[in-house]
């Protein structure tokens, strides 16, 4: 139920701000003997879209809650929009928790205005903005409806609008795509991009790599309460060498000595990682030996491949399972 990004959802661009919107150093959070966050260092550049990737139970939600000040870390320190006490910046932050929650008897526009009021937005302004947002998103008929009468998707939209109605400088979204259909996921992506264009910092967690790949300027891969990788998606992919796929007319010849050691034969083609010296020595051997090149492709690895390489196959498999379970649910 998320519409195309409307004018009411994209206020004026923000003034330049500090280099990092969110910082955490040596963060540790334990529940009993379980270390949910185990010594994490994180820095989210201001104005960027930053993704925290990891399977369920990796510590993503606890990390976000710790950064936002909902829970205090056992060790380490954090800073939110320059403030060591995150609650002091609450009026500049919008937060959509993983477990969605609204008062069932509240009307849709009142729920949005209430969430804005919690963050310091005057109720009157909040109501006006809420009505405009709902109307522009094709939910005009639901403005006065209690939340309990809305569909799950509509209620999620209401909550998302409640997260941004006060025009925050930092938006934190915990698994924002969870429970949305493909169309609404796409619309949410557009909304995130629109907010980022006006200088808002977006920090979100997800266990769906595709969203992070499409949206994020930087990512952190979290598993077992630790950050396994931090950087741009490009840098994550660069951890893997490009993959070469070669198909020839002849299967044997002197040219085969030029194939790298890790080459695997699969479905009549050769697969191997691009060697450090490049593809040229092999090409020369193929031409000299007249092997007959049918096809040759050099593919840059996807973020999923990088994730598997960084976090491990087991973690990647768990993420895949999480996604299947969510879709089934």
């Amino acid at each position: 139920m998320i519409g195309d990004t409307p004018a009411s959802a994209i206020p004026a661009p923000l003034a330049p701000q500090a280099a990092y919107a969110v910082e955490g150093h040596g963060l540790v959070k334990t529940f009993g003997s379980f270390r949910a966050v185990d010594g994490i260092d994180i820095r989210v550049p201001a104005g960027s879209i930053y993704g925290v990737l990891g399977p369920n139970g990796a510590g993503k939600t606890t990390l976000l809650r710790t950064l936002l000040g909902i829970v205090d870390p056992d060790e380490g320190h954090r800073s939110l929009l320059g403030a060591a006490q995150p609650q002091r910046m609450a009026q500049e932050v919008g937060y959509l928790p993983e477990e969605r929650g609204l008062y069932p008897s509240m009307k849709a526009y009142e729920a949005i205005a209430f969430m804005g009021a919690l963050r310091g937005l005057p109720l009157k302004v909040g109501r006006e903005r809420a009505k405009a947002m709902l109307a522009e998103h094709g939910m005009g008929a639901s403005i006065d409806k209690p939340i309990r009468q809305l569909s799950k998707g509509m209620a999620q939209t209401v909550q998302l609008f409640g997260t941004i109605v006060h025009e925050p400088r930092l938006i934190v979204l915990d698994e924002p795509f969870s429970g949305l259909d493909a169309i609404n996921q796409e619309k949410l992506e557009a909304l995130i991009r629109a907010q980022a264009r006006r200088g808002v910092t977006i920090l979100f967690s997800t266990h769906v790599i595709a969203h992070a790949e499409r949206l994020c300027e930087r990512i952190a891969i979290v598993a077992g309460g630790r950050i396994r990788f931090e950087g741009t998606p490009g840098e994550a992919r660069d951890r893997l060498r490009p993959q070469v796929r070669l198909r020839t007319r002849t299967v044997d010849g002197a040219w085969r000595r030029a194939l790298p050691e890790d080459t695997m034969a699969e479905e009549g083609a050769w697969h191997f990682a691009l060697p450090d010296e490049g593809i040229e020595p092999l090409l020369r051997a193929l031409i000299d030996d007249q092997a007959g090149i049918e096809s040759l492709s050099i593919e840059r690895p996807g973020l999923h491949d990088a994730f598997v390489a960084i976090a491990g196959a087991a973690v990647a498999k768990q993420m895949q399972d999480d996604r299947v379970q969510e879709e089934e649910a």
């Binding site: 000040g69 909902i70 006490q85 937060y95 929650g101 008062y103």
Partner: protein, 396 residues
Amino acid sequence: MKQLWRAAFVIARRDFTAVVLSRTFILFLLGPLLPILIGFAFGGLGEKISNTDLRPVVGVAMSAQDSAALERAHDRLTERMGEQALPRLRRVSTSISPRVQLARADSEVVAILSGSVARPVLTGKAEDLDKLQGDLSLMSSAARAERTLQLVKIERQEVATSLGAQAQARLVIGRIAQVVMFFLTILLAGMILSNLVEEKTNKIIEILAAAIPIDAIFLGKLMAMLAMSFVGIAFWGGTAFGIFLALGGGGSGLPAPAVGWPIFLILAVLYFAMAYTLLGSLFLGIGAQAATVREVQTLNMPITMGQMLIFFFASYAVDHMGSPAEVAACIFPFSSPFAMIARAAQDATLWPHLVALVWQAAFVALIIRVGVLLFRRHVMQSGGRWWKTLFRPATG
């Protein structure tokens, strides 16, 4: 601090409108009127019953002369002592033994006086004889000395006020104020127990905790419930006062409490607010630890028992002004509002009330803070040892 109050007001406003604009609030308002109406109905019935003559009837089995003398003595004494003071007399047969008469199914007398006025014999059950023999001895004596008995005339000297009576009246005012405050508190504060369950079951607590200090959530909820209580009290009080006036009641005969009615009423409102917020903050803190409505229901009974104990303590204190028990009841925060309103009825000094109100308010703040820290520790699973952060400024 300003942000804390602003956030508390947002929560209070939401909770207040959610409760007051719900259909069940009408039931909430009308519910307590039922006992008031029943009270008035039964009050009327009680009055009717009290008007019915329930004095015991004693049979007189004496000679006609003695019976007549006894009846005359009864009338003379009743004139002085009042209608209800003496048992009624009814002549019964002298030919049948009193024991036989009393054993009859149709016997309408509780005892029978036989013999003569000089040597009366009273027959009846032991407990009835205990009650009646003094009155009948008096009547027999009066009948015997009928001609010579001269009742001494008492000279009346009326005064406008009597300090003893005034003290008694003020004690009664103090007691009534305590009882009314206690019942209002027990009726209304218990609702706070389940106040945070909605936020927890609907997962809203996460949004609230991220946006505002938890102290503001607690404070806002208390403010909302207190405001709702005042709406209820205004409605019930107004209705009761309306019925009182409609039945022709007037306030002119009411004795005044020591501090005077206007200050007493202001103090009553303030002490109710304090009693409510003291217990409410405690309930909110305890209820916030509960995960489900079932757990809250289980907590209800022991908490009500605790309230009863506090009330008994305060009501004991009202009879012992200035005693160590009364001072302790005034100091102990939970009994303090009840003890202090009784003190306002009996003692005109005002400064102790200011001290008590500040003391009680400080305790409200302390209980809220402890409740918040325990909530953060056990429900939000955040923070270390709660007492270390007890006096830090309120944050998330």
